[in-house]
Amino acid sequence: MSRLRIITKGIISGNPIFVLVLGMCPTLGTTTSAVNGLGMGLATTFVLMLSNLVISLIAGLIPSKVRIPSFIVVIAVFVTVVQLIMQAYVPALYETLGLFIPLIVVNCIVLGRAEAFASKNKPLDSFLDGLGSGIGFTLGLTLLGAVRELLGSGAFFGWKMLPGDGMLVFILAPGAFIALGYLMVLFNKFLKA
């Protein structure tokens, strides 16, 4: 498989949100606006790339019985790094995303890619696989965030686009489920073979 193919696979045919349906908690919880979705996506991408890289480097040294706990420790280390970096440089975003930053550690996508790809492939390929899945995840989050923000407050990335206040329910919890459900329907209808 060519390198480019590894990256593009994570974006449409293996999109973490719309195809694999992994990582639903941050997907629903952080996408109250497009910017929040983008921030969460980038934080997850960072963890995905680096944990995939390190895991593929050390996979040969770990006995298969303690594989999963070892992977989780590696992931938790990078999550802590992201947590500290965000706290220092983007404190406002860190406050908004709150609990969901430490929860990247239990995001099924990260462990899923580690187990399904990084533990069996070369470091560079694993890094690119993390990048691809991360981009797919980020695009999905940003799209959902943009839709919810547009419907819920009439704005797009903070720019007021529609007159009026919008439908508040799309910013609140029920809107997250409903918006994601309908986006998935559109994805199934038009993009899935």
């Binding site: 992994l22 929860l103 994601l180 199934n188």
Partner: protein, 199 residues
């Protein structure tokens, strides 16, 4: 009185799945049958309360005095993973019947973000009772964790009931599977919004 407030707020008003978006993966994954939903709920109540007890003690007596709060994520997830494994082994030994019932759900709980989420919430978030904001004490934290888990069980069981009925109707093809489940969950979340404001 504050215990009643904690319970009502955790089970209904701030429902863990429908309001806080924690534990959505098992919520979508094991909600096909009511019987499995009940089994999963029981396992979550058990593990979440136990995990909160241990992580609360670790935070108070190890991480805080040593000022290594940044180790929280790593420590908590390791503790939860080890705890789940241990519960599995002990349960197998002392109560094979219970193990039969809960066994298959236990490994799934390690990656259930609700458990880690609640463990982090109780040691970081301040709660307001009667005008004064304060951190939860240990008994309050345990009641909060157990109620959160009960809220998870309640949402999961109702949702499984809805999905059992949905199997019998013809859903349009692009809606089948996860999308219709998400839309149903959205409507359920709307219903739960009716509770907001009562506490």
């Amino acid at each position: 009185m504050e215990y009643i407030l904690i319970i009502i707020s955790a089970v209904f008003v701030n429902n863990i799945v429908l309001n806080q978006f924690l534990g959505v993966c098992p919520f979508l994954g094991v909600s096909n049958r009511i019987s499995t939903a009940v089994g999963m709920s029981a396992a979550v109540v058990f593990v979440m309360t136990l995990a909160t007890l241990i992580t609360y003690l670790i935070q108070t007596y190890i991480l805080n005095p040593l000022q290594i709060g940044f180790m929280q994520t790593v420590t908590f997830i390791l503790v939860i993973a080890a705890l789940v494994q241990m519960v599995e082994i002990i349960l197998k030994k002392i109560s094979p019947a219970l193990y039969q019932a809960l066994g298959i759900f236990l490994p799934l709980i390690t990656t259930n973000c609700a458990v880690l989420g609640v463990a982090i919430i109780v040691v970081t978030k301040e709660f307001t009772f009667g005008g004064t904001a304060a951190m939860l004490t240990l008994p309050q934290a345990l009641v909060y964790a157990a109620s959160m888990a009960l809220g998870f069980g309640l949402a999961l069981t109702i949702f499984a009931g809805l999905r059992e009925h949905m199997d019998l109707v013809g859903v349009p093809k692009p809606f089948r599977g996860v999308p219709i489940a998400l839309i149903t969950a959205g409507i359920l979340a709307l219903a739960f919004m009716g509770f907001s404001g009562i506490v």
